[in-house]
């Protein structure tokens, strides 16, 4: 539609009458008087085919001869961009997502004609739970409050009548017919609106300055900043595309308030659709007399022009924007003078951004007090965010200021995609910063965000999961600002470049000690000394990631390790990088694919002696990072490993290097768990002859004491322990630290180095009434007793409290020992259970019941024995520091769960009685042995520690890695040099054709023993593949390591 047919509106009354006529049609019908199907024509939906969907819907309507009764309305952005193209049926607000042209006839026939919703197209958000029948029931919309977006998605932006029908220009009419300019400013003051461009300057104050500043010829200007340029942000664009009149009206009201006759909208040329729709809207407003001379019959005159910029980020800076409108190079000048005093062509100028103006009409129409009801004490109203990144529901969301970040991420955003965990949110774009998981409760408001080193900014909100490297994120944003710097002032032009160079070095594995401090110093200097806001905020992404993720920087620099597997210079392959022990995953997988099993195993054991153990119990982060997942599913690395270890007939003893000097050193390892045995293994390979002292009668630590045999057959463990013994390691069992010997004894016996790998063997109790009743036990001693002694009392109705692996192990053991029922009780939800998902799955198959969102309040005791548990229903409250919602007691009476045995699996602890003695071992604030993460070194120069004792309960492979690091550190203490010959890169020697297409075999699971066979015994549940399957699976590897030079990973 163009301006034809539009008539000049002579007064506020005529405008009101027009509105009345427009709305006189049936309630659900649009201004056309027809039933309406709204098709989102926002940028994202257009890109995913909204035009084709609209055409198909038209064809379907015509087929049904409904063309004159049903109208298709092309609207601006509706919000949930990830679901596009989206279509909404106006009368019942049914929201269809991912609509394809072929769905059109179903929508028309079944819904429009038949009145029945098309179920398969209904929007499913929030982790794909039950579909929401209509817009207002979608989680995505439930918590939003749409002021700025009030018309976006509801109207055809190309038809001014649709705007007018929804109160468009009513605020302008109200201002012109009843308010003095100072009244308008007053109303803005009451509203508390702050500039939405990012800095949050009170809008009324800016208007007041411009109003009262002297102009040489009385000329004043109103400018709109539509130069949105943050990566990932498109709020302003969507408003311009979806509701351009709200901006025109807001600017006209501002012009009236400050006494301007002319306005300019500065919009980037990369927004052609926004320019097109705004141009159209301006000409329609002019035709209606809502712009131009004597608006609505008053003496107020105001006109608007568009000025296009060519997309320089710095032109978002007000003085640069003004320079650009004036035809000069878009770069900032020093302030003062501020634009409100001397702006465009030296005249007083108000410059606000699109979103700010889009609020104005609503404020004037409904009153500042109405607006001020939303938001926080200091910041009123709502804010639009472009929610992007790793959340399920991305799109445009508008929320009251002060809404906690977690609500946006988890409720509106539906949580993190692919069951990853939330790591950080980047807020405010290149000027902003990262908010880490522990601050997920931060209210989205100017000051609280600034306190955490981020900024509100214009509203870009990028959610990141664990696959994001924070150093890389900092590098990305810095690269952006560094390129977008106007180059005028030295700190920004040269300083950001130097910062980028440092970051690039770090990401390439060439970081140096002191780089972090250099970045901080430069960053703070640039913030302090740059000419404009771009430079003053440019270091924020770096400084905020250093502040919240310093350890990742340290890992990059010291360990040459990128935990997210992102930084190309540090990551030979993401799987390899993800493995705590640094096993050459692509190497052994390729060797298996080449049927060279012995070589594969040897390569594995270069870094990890427990290949067989890990083939069964490793939590395989390697698979989580596998790039094949972006193609179909990850390579089944653990399954391949399982097949590989099963091919070993005689245990292979890996390379050891004899060294007479080392052999003379006396080294003791306390604890024969995975950490201690690994430490001994690597020491032995360097020529040491360590002794391992173990408290229990059998070596293996948790591997033997806690992990049940159906997961890890005892012979498998024993074989690898024997291999370690073959290297010259002595294992002395049945001698406990604190009971049979002390650290001081070892020193007296001449031990020059001691590795403390005593694990976290003690279970943690629960402080509820009845906790000491008979039948209440804890998982560690329950499992240990069965696994070491061969029998343990088990009840008929067993309740296991906790959600970790120990809880599941105890539950599955109890089932096998004949319990009639086993119930696992967990206070959060299934998604938050720390136990491995596949373990939970198998437990459920075996008949274990998992009850979530319940918490034991009391153990019911009869005759001194437990008879049941009073359970309190829980609900999830605010987010805690782990980024998970904190469980809170729900309402209602507690129910009683009958139980004659309760197994507590809520935590483990160090046996610190054993550690106190003549020589005191220093513990950290959490009660674990205080040891350097990289070397295991403690405060005592001869004492090293690692594994669960130093970190708290963690995975087997983490313990193995800690043992290796400590072995290297012990040797370094003796020799002053590093001799970890196994760490070097070696070519696996398997060819690879990078031009060949990836093989298209699907991922396969390991087979499991049939249920009926496994419930009664402790035989291994998982069964290995045959050779053909294993080789096929191995060949699925994409060989990310191909062509990568050694880099220290």
């Amino acid at each position: 539609m163009s301006v034809t047919g539009l008539k000049r509106i002579g007064s506020a009354k005529e405008l009101a009458e027009w509105r009345e006529r427009l709305n006189a049609k049936a309630p659900s019908a649009g201004v056309s008087g027809k039933r309406q199907i709204l098709v989102c024509f926002g940028g994202s939906c257009l890109a995913s085919g909204a035009k084709e969907v609209r055409d198909a819907l038209q064809v379907a309507l015509d087929l049904e001869k409904l063309g004159d009764r049903v109208a298709l309305v092309e609207t601006g952005c509706m919000g949930p961009c990830v679901m596009g193209p989206v279509v909404m049926i106006a009368e019942d607000r049914t929201f269809y997502q991912g609509v394809k042209p072929e769905d059109a006839s179903d929508i028309i026939r079944q819904h429009i004609c038949g009145g029945k919703r098309v179920e398969r197209l209904l929007a499913c958000d929030a982790a794909g739970k039950t579909p929401a029948p209509c817009r207002q029931e979608m989680e995505f919309f439930k918590r939003q409050t749409q002021v700025v977006l009030r018309n976006c998605g509801w109207i055809d932006p190309g038809k001014i009548g649709e705007t007018v029908a929804r109160d468009g220009y009513a605020a302008l009419a109200k201002a012109l017919s009843g308010m003095k300019p100072e009244d308008v400013v007053k109303e803005m003051e009451i509203s508390g609106l702050r500039g939405r461009g990012g800095a949050g300057f009170p809008t009324w104050l800016k208007w007041n300055f411009a109003r009262s500043s002297e102009s040489p010829d009385g000329v004043r200007y109103v400018l709109c900043n539509a130069d949105e340029g943050d990566p990932g942000a498109y709020m302003d664009r969507s408003v311009l595309e979806g509701d351009p009149h709200s901006v025109i009206e807001g600017m006209a009201i501002a012009a009236y308030a400050i006494g301007a006759r002319q306005g300019y909208v500065y919009v980037r040329a990369e927004y052609p659709l926004a320019v097109e729709r705004l141009t159209e809207a301006i000409s329609q407003a002019r035709a209606c007399g809502l712009l131009g001379e004597n608006i609505l019959g008053t003496s107020f005159c105001f006109d608007l022009e568009i000025r296009m910029g060519s997309g320089a980020f710095v032109c978002g800076e007000e003085t640069a924007l003004i320079a650009s409108i004036e035809g000069k190079r878009g770069e900032p000048r020093p302030r003062p003078p501020f634009p409100a005093h001397k702006g465009l062509w030296g005249r007083p100028t108000v410059l606000n951004n699109v979103e700010t103006y889009a609020n104005v009409a609503a404020i004037i129409l409904k009153g500042g007090a109405w607006y001020a009801e939303m938001g926080t004490a200091k910041s009123k109203g709502t804010k639009v965010f472009a929610l992007a990144g790793a959340v399920r529901n991305t799109g445009l969301v508008e929320i009251p200021i002060g809404t906690p970040l977690g609500e946006v991420v988890y409720d509106i955003g539906g949580g993190i995609r692919n069951n990853r965990s939330f790591k950080a949110a980047q807020i405010g774009g290149p000027s902003g910063g990262c908010i880490p998981r522990q601050h997920v409760n931060v209210p989205l408001d100017y000051e609280p965000l600034a306190e955490l080193g981020a900024i509100m900014g214009s509203g870009g909100l990028i959610v990141m999961d664990e696959d994001t490297c924070m150093v890389d994120v900092a590098r990305f944003f810095l690269e952006f600002v560094q390129e977008e710097s106007c180059g005028k002032c030295v700190p920004c032009r040269v300083g950001t470049r130097r910062m980028l160079e440092i970051l690039e070095r770090i990401c390439n594995g060439e970081g140096e000690e002191g780089d972090i401090e250099r970045l901080e110093e430069l960053g703070n200097f640039i913030k302090q000394s740059s000419l404009c806001g771009l430079g003053q905020t440019a270091p924020n992404p770096v400084l905020s990631t250093i502040r919240h993720f310093r350890e990742e920087y340290e890992e990059h620099i010291r360990d040459r390790h990128c935990r997210a597997g992102v930084c190309a210079g540090l990551v030979r392959a993401p799987c390899l990088s993800a493995c705590p022990a640094g096993v050459d995953v692509p190497g052994f997988v390729a060797l298996v694919g080449d049927k060279r099993y012995a070589e594969a195993l040897r390569l594995h054991r270069e870094r990890n002696p427990f290949a067989s153990v890990c083939a069964r119990v490793c939590f395989h982060t390697c698979e989580d990072k596998c790039r094949r997942a972006s193609l179909d599913e990850p390579v089944a690395i653990r399954g391949i490993k399982r097949f590989m270890v099963d091919q070993e007939v005689m245990v292979q003893v890996p390379e050891g290097r004899e060294n007479a000097d080392n052999a003379k050193r006396k080294v003791a390892v306390i604890g024969a768990g995975p950490a201690g045995l690994s430490c001994a293994y690597f020491l032995a390979r360097m020529g040491y002859v360590p002794i391992v002292i173990e408290a229990e009668p059998r070596p293996g630590g948790m591997l033997v004491q806690a992990i049940p045999a159906y997961r890890l057959p005892r012979e498998e463990l024993a074989r690898e322990v024997r291999m370690i013994e073959h290297l010259g390691v002595t294992i002395d069992t049945g001698r406990a630290l604190g009971r049979d010997f002390s650290l001081a004894d070892l020193r007296e016996d001449g031990y020059e180095a001691v590795f403390l790998g005593v694990g976290a063997p003690l279970g943690v109790g629960l402080k509820v009434p009845g906790a000491h009743a008979r039948g209440v036990t804890e998982a560690m001693s329950f499992l240990r007793q069965y696994n070491i002694r061969g029998s343990v009392p088990v009840g008929k109705r067993v309740a296991v409290i906790g959600g970790g692996n120990a809880a599941i192990d105890a539950a599955r053991t109890a089932i096998r020992l004949g319990a009639q029922s086993v119930t696992v009780i967990y206070r959060r939800t299934r998604e938050e259970m720390p136990a491995y998902a596949e373990e939970i799955e198998e437990a459920l198959q075996e008949g274990v019941v998992v009850r979530t969102l319940v918490n034991p309040e009391e153990f019911v005791v009869e005759d001194g024995a437990v008879s049941g548990i009073r359970l309190r229903a829980m609900k999830l409250g605010e987010f805690d520091r782990s980024g998970r919602r904190r469980p809170e007691a729900g309402d209602g009476e507690g129910e009683i769960l009958p139980a004659d045995q309760v197994i507590l699996a809520i935590g483990q602890a160090l046996d610190n009685k054993a550690l106190s003695g003549e020589i005191e071992v220093e513990l950290d604030e959490k009660g674990w042995v205080k040891a350097d993460r990289r070397t295991g070194a403690t405060a005592l120069p001869w004492l090293f520690s690692g594994g669960d004792a130093a970190t708290g309960p963690s995975s087997v492979v983490e313990a193995i890695a800690a043992g290796e690091r400590a072995a290297v550190a012990i040797d370094e203490m003796f020799t002053g040099a590093e001799h970890a010959f196994w760490r070097g890169y070696r070519d696996c020697g398997v060819g690879f054709d990078p031009y060949a297409d990836p093989v298209n075999y699907a991922r396969e699971k390991l087979h499991t023993m049939p249920l009926e066979k496994r419930r009664q015994n402790f035989a291994e549940v998982e069964q290995s593949w045959n050779e053909a399957t294993a080789v096929r699976q191995a060949r699925r590897c994409l060989r990310c390591d191909y062509g990568k030079q050694p880099c220290g990973c």
Binding site: E484, C489, V490, R498, K527
Partner: protein, 589 residues
């Protein structure tokens, strides 16, 4: 008045004073690399950062106005560190090879680094991309040394109104230079060299012809003569530690002789000649207009300043007919030297080498213009700037300060006071009026001490009117005519005058235009650093040189009279027409 406390000293300053100026008043010098007097602050270099209590960040003192009660610390650790860090960053991108840099001795960046105690560079990285532009005869630009302070951009665009230099590109890739990263000869650059005069580092310098001059001096087969422009004597001393405004005419002549020039002459001689020709031309034009009622271009513009000629050729070709056809004194000298003087000493023109010492870089360009070969070959062979001459003197090991005062040689060395004042804005006008008025009336110019006060000083555009009384018979048509004149210096001001004439017709009879602010005393080849206080001192020196002479009018110069008698005949005669006049054509890039 506002109260401000700077380093614990409280003073009152008027509203609008920047912290930088306020600090100067309490004896605190805040360093800067981009600041330019009388211009809107640029704020690019950030070397002038200071700490202001209560401010969110450090502030640039050049661009932050004082507010009531402001408390400033220029010497806090924070401020000093920030300034040092700025320098460290600048040096880290600077392709500065100080040992061989032309600016080694007076580089502002190097001096500041020393003052701020920069002893090593903590942040090393890529350097600014080096691109050396030697496309013009006058200037050499080296982007690798550029610190992007934008002084040159400001001078070129705002003061000169030429617009040959701009910032281009973004971020670290930002370069300063001609549009579309062309070379200087690809844009409308007038080669005035104001950029070179103001550049804090060695990014823009004059193109040196010192080696060529040495070579000529050492060639026994050549007769090498030198001319020195009027502005040199008031500025050259600064290169040897003299205060600005010290006249060193005699020492200069002595130094030139020690350097080995066969004859030491004076451009001032040619300036007197110019007045004879130009004054006559003006009177002739007036006669044509008033008596013969011919179409004649008025007002007439002076033509001494080659930057201005280029400016008119590029931007105002419609005014080319208004420009006096006289060559500049430099070129008149060259033409006379290679014809009249050569024959006088019995040499062929090709045996003669004419070297000029000029305060100007555009003179290098002018000397190689195709129009400037009336002697049948290039009239002026080499042009040295004041700075280059000083370098040669130093290179030759001449102790300038201990030289005796010597005189210029004859016959091209004698000049009037009128010629001296060619060096400053308003000077050509005053010199012309002294002679023209006397030609017309036979009486001396009826102003105090022969000075036309209205056209002197540093105002950008100056106007004066002079009513002619008692005209001689042959000039009776001028009786009672109010002669209206205007003087502009700095091409930005010239542009204003031209636009005014364009809009209002011939409102003046005669207009003097000098390319550089202050005239030649502020030329692009003069010792650095030239600001208004230095310009005023040099101007004062020039006036005192003029006043110290007995002969203060060009037409009184006996050697000029001899030249006409022996060789040229009369002003605007056939020989002068051939040797001393020329025409210009519109130029496009």
């Amino acid at each position: 008045m506002l109260n401000v406390t700077i380093n614990k000293q409280t003073i009152q300053v008027p509203e609008g004073t920047m912290i930088l100026q306020a600090a100067n008043k309490v004896g605190v010098t805040i360093p800067t690399l981009c600041h330019l007097e009388n211009r809107e602050p640029i704020g690019a270099c950030r070397v002038c950062l200071v700490e202001v209590e209560g401010a969110r960040t450090l502030v640039a003192s050049c661009s932050t106005p004082v507010t009531e009660g402001m408390v400033v610390h220029t010497n806090s650790t924070l401020a000093r560190n920030a300034r040092r860090q700025v320098l460290e960053l600048l040096l880290s991108e600077h392709d500065g090879n100080c040992q061989t840099c032309d600016r080694s001795g007076d580089c502002e960046l190097r001096a500041l680094a020393e003052e701020m105690g920069v002893t090593f560079l903590p942040y090393e990285g890529v350097k600014a991309k080096k691109k050396v532009d030697e496309s013009t005869p006058a200037l050499v630009r080296d982007n690798g040394k550029c610190v992007k302070c934008r002084r040159c951009v400001t001078v070129c665009n705002e003061i000169q109104g030429v617009g040959a230099l701009f910032p281009q590109g973004r971020g670290f890739q930002t370069v300063i230079g001609p549009a579309f990263t062309r070379e200087l000869d690809g844009v409308a650059c007038v080669q005035c060299g104001q950029c070179a005069a103001i550049c804090p580092v060695g990014a823009i310098v004059e193109k040196s012809c010192i080696p060529e001059v040495w070579k000529a001096l050492e060639n026994p087969g050549l007769h090498v003569i030198v001319q020195t422009a009027p502005a040199i004597r008031a500025a050259l001393g600064e290169c040897f530690g003299y205060e600005p405004g010290t006249r060193v005419t005699g020492k200069m002549a002595a130094a030139l002789r020690r350097l080995g020039f066969d004859a030491v002459f004076d451009t001032n001689f040619a300036a007197d000649l110019t007045i004879m020709e130009e004054g006559t031309e003006l009177l002739t034009r007036l006669k044509k207009a008033l008596v013969d009622k011919e179409e004649v271009a008025l007002p007439m513009f002076t033509s001494c300043s080659p930057g201005w000629i280029s400016f008119a050729e590029f931007y105002f070709p419609q005014f080319l007919p208004n420009i006096s056809t006289c060559k500049s004194p430099q070129q008149m000298f060259g033409a006379v030297a290679k014809s009249y003087y050569a024959s006088k000493i019995g040499k062929k023109p090709e045996e003669l080498v004419v070297v000029s010492v000029m305060p100007c870089t555009a003179k290098k360009f002018e000397a190689q213009r195709p129009e400037m070969n009336s002697s049948g070959m290039r009239d002026v062979d080499y042009v040295l700037t004041t700075r280059e001459l000083a370098k040669m003197v130093k290179e030759a090991g001449i102790d300038f300060k201990s030289l005796p005062d010597e005189d210029m040689d004859a016959p091209l060395g004698l000049s009037s006071g009128a010629a001296d004042i060619f060096a400053n804005t308003g000077g050509v006008m005053e010199a012309a009026l002294r002679t023209a008025y006397e030609i017309v009336t036979g009486k001396a110019l009826p102003v105090d001490n022969l000075h036309v006060k209205a056209v002197a000083g540093l105002d950008g555009v100056k106007e004066a009117a002079l009513t002619i009384k008692g005209a001689k018979k042959e000039w009776s048509f001028l009786e009672g005519v109010e002669l209206k004149v205007a003087v502009a210096h700095g091409l930005g001001n010239a542009r204003r005058v031209l636009e005014h004439i364009k809009a209002n017709g011939p409102v003046y009879h005669f207009v003097e235009i000098m390319t550089c602010p202050g005239g030649c005393v502020g030329g692009g080849g003069q010792p650095r650093f030239t600001d208004d206080s230095v310009r005023l001192k040099r101007i004062a020196a020039i006036y005192s040189e003029d006043e110290g002479k007995k002969m203060r009018k060009s037409h009184e110069n006996p050697d000029i009279q001899t030249l006409y008698a022996e060789y040229l005949g009369k002003p605007l005669g056939a020989k002068s027409h051939h040797l001393l006049h020329t025409h210009y054509k519109a130029k496009e890039v």
